[in-house]
């Protein structure tokens, strides 16, 4: 069936005109029709536009144009602005917001010939680890509908796992690509901070946010990342450095690769999870890699550091949602203060408000030094830890999450427990490093993720290592029952 083919196989069939982009698009639209209501993976379906884009791609193909993504359908996380299409960011605040422009990520993937099927559900303003904070309701995990798919890119992950699209985009501020990828048995890439433009990606925490891809394999993700990556003059934090050929990099040998086992990630890790990581290490050893244990002593401070830095930035980033120019505005405000208070009070959900309040608090006079500045200092120490580790090894390896997918509702009322879900992913965000999550086995019938973290701009190395693992294993080929 078409939905089980890889992106490379699909491109081949499109290029040979064996299948048209319109046919492919119809196929995935039909799957969305069939599965999305139960999964709640999409906020907005753009079927008409998708078919028009597919027809345009077919014309290009007919003219002899070729490309690894030309005519390939995808789903964008609803955090990316899409011209003329509602861009809600999972919030009531933007339920009525039709973006007047395309995010750079959207522009680039469009230029590569992709066909947007719709906009994926997500935690409100990307704040959450379970997709339960969405104004549009929780997303269900295709592996078990009672379980969360992870978050905040939960809709993207569920859609990729359920084969509703060969590719989905996501964003990762504290693990929002890697954690849902792990929980849904998909492959998720979070690039180096600055590798992909943030222009048009609605900001949560500007110094941590980074766009990436969710797919069923590294080989599928590589061309999408290729299209997204690169300098954008509209994002001052994007980096003007050459982008390697990611697909070509996949074929490099892994022999001699030095892999560091992150000691801190195994403290208190459940034995069954640890066993999966050790199995993966054996795979790597068989492929010719060497492994050694490395320690990042400040890594355990990641979560508290993150929960100062991210809310601080979010409290400021979300100030623009004031009911004045766009988005939700309360009924009949009686004065300016009332307009602000009720528009924001009614437009934002509980988790967003919690983070705005936390962030406002840590930036306030009298608390700034004790929280914000201290967190920045700890962040620097974590960066230094990683730098030191990468003088000894090429890549770091560990679990993506402490547990497999948990029940919907199990943690939503306990923010601290929820926050600890990101304990293994946050470090890479604080240090701006690229990270990759790969399916590496099952615990209690639910997929688990293996995480690789590399030095800045080592996406090619990460993808190569991930691809090597996927050539040697078939965890990434497993489909949730009913979605095969």
């Amino acid at each position: 069936m078409l939905h089980n083919l890889s992106v490379g196989e699909l491109a081949e069939r499109l290029n040979s005109r064996e299948v048209s982009s319109v046919e492919l698009t119809r196929h995935f639209l039909a799957r969305i029709d069939r599965f999305s209501p139960a999964l709640n993976a999409l906020i907005t379906l753009t079927a008409d536009r998708a078919l028009a884009d597919a027809a345009a791609a077919d014309l290009r193909l007919g003219r002899g144009e070729r490309g690894p993504l030309l005519g390939i359908p995808l789903i964008h996380k609803d955090i990316f602005c899409t011209d003329g299409v509602r861009t809600s960011c999972g919030s009531r605040m933007l339920d009525n917001f039709i973006a007047p422009y395309d995010a750079t990520v959207v522009t680039r993937l469009k230029a590569a010939g992709t066909v947007m099927l719709g906009k994926a559900n997500m935690d409100e303003f990307a704040m959450g680890s379970s997709n339960e904070t969405s104004y549009y309701g929780p997303v269900k995990n295709p592996w078990n509908l009672n379980k969360v798919p992870g978050g905040s890119s939960g809709g993207s992950a569920a859609a990729a796992a359920a084969r509703l699209a060969p590719l989905t985009t996501g964003t990762d501020t504290g693990g929002s690509i890697r954690q849902p990828a792990a929980l849904t048995g998909t492959t998720g890439v979070k690039p180096t901070y600055g590798r992909v433009s943030r222009y048009g990606m609605i900001a949560f925490a500007s110094s941590l946010d980074q766009a990436g891809v969710l797919a069923r394999s590294v080989a599928d993700a590589a061309p999408a990342l290729q299209a997204m990556a690169g300098f954008d003059p509209r994002d001052s934090t994007s980096v003007d450095a050459p982008v390697p050929d990611y697909t070509a990099a996949l074929a490099r040998p892994l022999k001699g690769l030095k892999i560091g086992l992150l000691r801190e990630f195994f403290v208190g890790l459940e034995a069954r999870n640890a066993a999966l990581i050790h199995d993966a290490l054996k795979v790597y050893q068989e492929l010719g890699a060497t492994t050694k244990e490395v320690s990042l002593p400040h890594l355990p401070a990641s979560v508290p550091t993150y929960y100062v830095v991210a809310p601080a930035e979010c409290s400021s980033n979300l100030s623009r949602f004031d009911g004045v120019r766009y988005g939700y505005r309360c009924e009949n405000p009686h004065d300016l203060m009332d307009l602000y208070k009720r528009s924001r009070g009614e437009g934002f959900g509980a988790e967003v408000k919690r983070r705005i309040m936390t962030g406002t608090y840590v930036l306030s006079a009298g608390y700034f030094d004790a929280y914000y500045l201290k967190a920045q200092r700890v962040r620097r120490l974590i960066v230094d830890d990683f730098r030191a580790a990468f003088t000894q090894v090429d890549l770091l390896i560990g679990p993506t999450t402490p547990t497999p997918a948990f029940d919907i509702g199990a943690k939503i009322d306990d923010p601290v427990t929820m926050y600890l879900n990101d304990i293994y992913t946050i470090g890479a965000n604080l240090a701006g490093l690229p990270g990759l999550s790969l399916p590496c086995g099952f615990v209690d019938g639910l997929p688990m993720g293996l995480q690789l973290i590399g030095p800045h701009f080592s996406e090619d190395r990460l993808l190569c290592a991930g691809h090597g693992y996927q050539l040697a294993t078939d965890w990434h080929r497993r489909a949730p029952q009913g979605y095969e």
Partner: protein
């Protein structure tokens, strides 16, 4: 009653003359219909990001170098967070802990001619906010975001000024400087140049500063002077009647000439400054700074010193003529044709006739209706005694209104000076003959009547008798 000392510091906001905004590509031109110069970045749409305008940085560096300040090789943009409808992002991007310019100085000349050095604490880049509009809207307020994101250089002085006059002198000097540097058009009506004044008083001799009030948004030199004078009097009266000054922000009412409380320190916002993660620190290398240094024009103080020395002008004249680059250039072009030995004559004419004609017609020096070349041609006719200074003023008026050369006017109106001694003597004889009484009085010692005879002769010649010759000949005749 105690003797009070006034302490004033100014925060001047100079709008930088960039074509586009500091963080977006929108135009900065003044007076466009509301919200036509606001793009998605200025409107703070979800997902947009600021990109720093390099031209604004270059201009700030130029200013820093001109005031002998330290230009920071690394400066940082921060967010100043507060809610207001004219501030679309809910924060203003400004520089807080690490400004681009620090520790400069500026010299001002006091009334008694003494020179005083005013410290410039810092100058930093920031974006302006939009404007709220209330006129013509029933039950609503409008927001115009054309000005949102316009680049500003906020120039903060040390509390070094001791009177309203000093504050005005400092502000005028900065005004001159930013226009010299061509980094600000200095248009105060349009708000391109405005200031906040921090004012306090303390008993003379006391080290500790008094509690200050900040008077916001003063957009004319006169308002600065009036507002400070009012505020100083208010504070002294308050203290002397047993009260105390509270730290607060005050507004100046230019109709009533008084300041009013706007908000007190207790109500002040906690701005929650933190480095803007959307912008990288501004890193400037020495080479860039040196390149900018190479583009600095001759600065006002240097020009004034050169005028005073090179043309033997008074410090006052040199100061007036160097008050703007254009005026200085006009003066220099005039002198170039006329010769440096006549610089004082040129100075008097530029500061006198030319300036008053410009004022009368409300023109800038660039639009003067008599060019420096035309003026020097006129002055040359004074020098070569073709016409007198008095006649020259008439010629100048004709040149200004009729756009003719000096020689053409002199020719057409027959204003050429009489330099023929015989002719002048003939008139003198006739005048003496007609005024025997005055002659007798003069000869008996009433020297003042000399002027009377001069007047009579010039009346008879239509003012055309060469004054020097007339003087000499008349003296001889009267005493013979």
């Amino acid at each position: 009653m105690a003797d009070w000392e006034v302490v004033i510091g100014l925060e001047i906001h100079a709008q930088l003359a960039t074509k586009s905004k500091i963080f977006s590509g929108s135009a900065t031109a003044y007076g466009a219909p509301p919200n036509t110069q606001a793009d998605l970045v200025d409107l703070a749409y979800p997902g947009v990001l600021p990109v720093l305008n390099g031209e604004a940085v270059r201009m700030a560096v130029k200013f820093g170098l001109a005031v002998g300040a330290k230009v920071a090789q690394r400066s940082v943009f921060a967010r100043k967070n507060y809610f207001y409808p004219d501030l679309p992002k809910g924060y203003q991007i400004s520089q807080y802990e690490l400004p681009i310019v620090a520790h400069g100085t500026l010299k001002i000349v006091l009334d008694d001619g003494a020179v005083k050095t005013i410290g410039i604490t810092r100058a930093h880049l920031e974006e302006d906010a939009g404007k709220s509009l209330h006129e013509g809207l029933a039950n609503a307020s409008g927001i115009d975001l054309n000005r949102a994101g316009t680049p500003l250089l906020e120039i903060v002085s040390e509390p070094d000024m001791r009177s309203a006059k000093e504050a005005v002198a400092y502000m005028k000097k900065i005004h001159t400087l930013v226009r010299y540097l061509e980094i600000c058009d200095g248009n105060m009506q349009e708000g391109s140049f405005r200031c906040d004044a921090n004012v306090s008083v303390r008993p003379k001799g006391r080290e500790k500063l008094g509690t200050r009030a900040e008077i916001k948004n003063l957009n004319s030199f006169r308002f600065v002077e009036k507002a400070i004078q009012y505020e100083v009097a208010r504070q002294i009266e308050l203290i002397e009647s047993g009260g105390s000054v509270v730290q607060e922000t005050r507004l100046y009412d230019s109709d009533k000439h008084e300041t009013r409380s706007m908000r007190s320190k207790e109500e002040a916002n906690d701005y929650r400054y933190f480095p803007d993660p959307d912008l990288l620190p501004v890193e400037l290398d020495q080479k860039f700074i040196d390149t900018v240094r190479g583009t600095l024009p001759e600065l006002p103080d240097d020009k004034a010193a050169r005028f005073a020395q090179g043309f033997a002008l008074s410090h006052y004249d040199a100061g007036v003529l160097s008050a703007s680059r254009e005026l200085g250039a006009y003066f220099e072009a005039t002198v170039a044709d006329l010769g440096a030995e006549h610089a004082k004559l040129a100075a008097n004419w530029v500061m006198g006739e030319v300036s008053s004609a410009l004022n009368r017609d409300n023109l800038d020096i660039g639009a003067a209706r008599v060019s420096p070349q035309q003026l020097s041609a006129l002055l040359l006719r004074i020098v070569d005694a073709t016409i007198s200074g008095k006649i020259a003023k008439e010629v100048f008026e004709a040149m200004w209104s009729e756009q003719k050369s000096a020689d053409a006017v002199i020719e057409a109106q027959g204003l050429k000076q009489i330099t023929d001694s015989g002719a002048i003597e003939g008139v003198i004889d006739a005048v003496i003959a007609a005024n025997p009484k005055q002659l007798a009085e003069y000869r008996s010692g009433k020297d003042k009547l000399f002027g009377f005879f001069i007047g009579q002769v010039q009346k008879a010649t239509g003012g055309k008798a060469n004054p020097a010759q007339l003087n000499e000949l008349l003296k001889a005749k009267l005493s013979s």
